[in-house]
Symmetry: C2
Subunit: 418 residues, 2 copies
């Protein structure tokens, strides 16, 4: 079963917002056996929306539409759906009661006529409840194709999908099993890896697809397979993954159904009951932020200090000004001291620090752009490594974050092996 | 002049990555007078890519393609372009020299045959230099339509756009002026605003488009106008904006060509030469992270402590355990103390603190989910406000971040008025 995602709104086409909805929808739909054929972002113009609906109807069995459901005049999705389905808008009493209730409880201003119009839906639509917002989501079946229209606000859309859309789609039955499994490697480039596993790749069965996803010092290898025999798919992909482990034991750092070394390492921290703290300079809180985005972060994350200026390293972390002066703020000694201090302050098992020059201009030190020291502290002592992360600010920071998690992982493995 | 953006890669359609490239490209293309007609994300399948090329050629004069240019077998963009343009791949010596150089300087492993193949380009393509990567970007004109193919790695793509694509597109001449201007409001919902400015909206000239963009306690109003008489467009939009200021002086908090209250407030901090520090609990570093993403952040951002656990508030911020015990960790008193302490530690002009319960579960206090205290400290003293941010974790955090910036803004205005 194929789906098309249509996002409606000029704000996407002028780059005012980034479409994060589609990736989430795609991930979740894959889990229940629905593949995304295409993602289409179109403007708030009637003719353009109509042509997108027509294209989606031709190429897929499910059409997921987000956006254009607000109460103001620039939002025209409902009217355009009526034009497409030759339908009219009717007032839905249940939606009206919900909107009235939201206004009374949270918004606490009188409802305007346009808020009342939020309760209008196409007459042939089934209404899906939007717990957190006033715009109703709808489900319309047309010539065997399901059109689902939802608001573009991410947490409203997600709740509607979880509450109504996934359960209903699952009931359609006969959905295949879509399996993705992703191996995470660190330390070698995609072409080096491809050369190492060339023979294995050539021998891969036709229906198991391999993709390479390089990103700042890590490469993910994804195997995908779709079919109706779940048990056989799991076993066959599993066998291929085992071969990969044998071929590249030195560079596989983990497995991740989702995306990143961050998830992998945070899960390891949880499994081992370990906590982490960070003292960040050039990464500006990116390591802490990456950890706190993981559900359950409070179990593994003790906290962080973000000290941009040299003076803050003195005042907040308690490192001697003369010590910094002597070694330079971008140095192994200062990185070590930062990690050691923050570990004690936050009472964490593992502390990570960063100090470096991400560019584009030099900061409080003479270190070349791209120079980064990462410090690691545990109860057994502290150390720091120097890295040359390249010449582009974004790359320097991303690579440093990834490398920091690699170092945390190594500490976890050391502890685990004891 | 209309453009279509095509992103190629299964990783987008299975939700493994979020497409951030398209928003950036759209924003930058708007600045030089090119409108995005549509964004299309397609799979790594030849037939699907070919049909996307054909659709884009029909509906636009510029086609921007990203992705599918890696050295491994899953990347087929170059071959598919050859099929579409009835062309063949030829070795480009200049690209080969560049790839060889990158391997010698940064990658420091021997080149594999597939790295050499990175230097193959369609024979009729003009090559655009990819400073930071091995995959060459190309420019092909076909029946008056320009096809530009670039790697999907964001910072490589951006550098190619800046270095080659924008200058070349500008030379096409006769591009219109696309003008967006966005007013940022805080404190009222979109329907309340729409009711207040109804008459003004009805009287808007046909060619000036209005859009409402609500987001967590803020609503942006965007006016857009496109044409060839730049001076007249600027003046006419300006006149409309002035009317908006007269109609809603109480809720307009700033103007932002881009997105958010964060940019607005950071710019104000820079303009006034003020610095900020944060002590974050329930926001987990999100406020600090938002600031550090702004270019030039080091001038206004002193640093941050992220203290999740109550014990960290004691150890890191130096707040008495008995004081926290007495008032509860989620309280105005603790918020005030956090702000005051972090301001002194980091020697900042304005400090912001957050302590609250974002849910879904209760933390170290009995406060209801959604309860947040935001503390503010300046040289003149400190205070804290209590907020009820609703019932959804993501919303609670986002609203708290936005509210924090609103409070920083109010402090800047107080200082400015002195």
């Amino acid at each position: 079963m194929l789906a098309t995602i249509i996002t409606i709104g000029d704000e996407i086409l002028i780059g005012q917002i980034v479409d994060t909805n589609s990736a989430w929808m795609a991930q979740e739909l894959n889990k229940i056996g629905i593949s995304i054929y295409e993602i289409l972002s179109v403007s708030d113009q009637r003719e353009h929306i109509l042509s997108a609906f027509a294209k989606a109807k031709q190429q897929s069995q499910v059409v997921l539409i987000t956006g254009g459901l607000g109460p103001t005049k620039d939002d025209i999705t409902k009217k355009t759906m009526c034009a497409f389905f030759n339908d009219t808008l009717v007032l839905n009493e249940e939606v009206l009661a919900h909107v009235t209730d939201l206004f009374a409880t949270y918004i606490k201003v009188p409802m305007a006529p346009m808020n009342r119009e939020q309760a209008l839906v196409p007459s042939r639509a089934q209404v899906l409840k939007n717990t957190y917002g006033t715009a109703p989501a709808t489900w319309i079946e047309d010539d065997g194709v399901i059109f689902i229209s939802m608001p573009g606000v991410p947490f409203e859309m997600k709740e509607i999908m979880r509450g109504d859309v996934f359960p209903r789609l699952k009931q359609l039955g006969n959905l295949p099993f879509i399996h993705h499994r992703t191996i995470l490697t660190a330390g070698q480039g995609e072409s080096t890896i491809a050369t190492r596993i060339e023979q294995w790749e050539n021998d891969l069965p036709e229906d198991i697809k391999l993709a390479y996803l390089p990103s700042f010092g890590t490469v993910r290898l994804r195997l995908s397979c779709t079919g109706h025999d779940k048990k056989s798919i799991l076993a066959r992909v599993d066998a291929q993954i085992k071969e990969l482990y044998l071929l590249m034991p030195d560079i596989i750092v983990g497995e991740s159904e989702t995306d990143s070394i961050v998830q992998t390492v945070c899960k390891m921290l949880q499994d081992h009951g370990l906590t982490v703290a960070t003292a960040e300079s050039c990464t500006g809180g990116r390591i802490a932020n990456a950890v706190t985005e993981i559900p359950g972060a409070s179990k593994i994350f003790k906290g962080s200090t973000i000290t941009y200026a040299t003076a803050s390293k003195v005042a907040v972390l308690g490192i001697d000004a003369s010590f910094i002066e002597k070694h330079s703020v971008v140095s192994a000694q200062v990185a070590q001291a930062m990690a050691a201090q923050v570990r004690i302050k936050f009472d964490a098992d593992i502390a990570i620090s960063t100090t470096g020059n991400a560019g584009p201009e030099k900061g409080d030190s003479d270190a070349a752009v791209g120079t980064v020291f990462i410090g690691v502290a545990t109860k057994n002592g502290e150390f720091a490594h120097e890295f040359m992360m390249g010449s582009h600010r974004e790359r320097v920071i991303e690579k440093t974050v990834n490398k920091a998690f690699e170092l945390i992982q190594q500490e976890i493995l050391k502890k685990a092996s004891k």
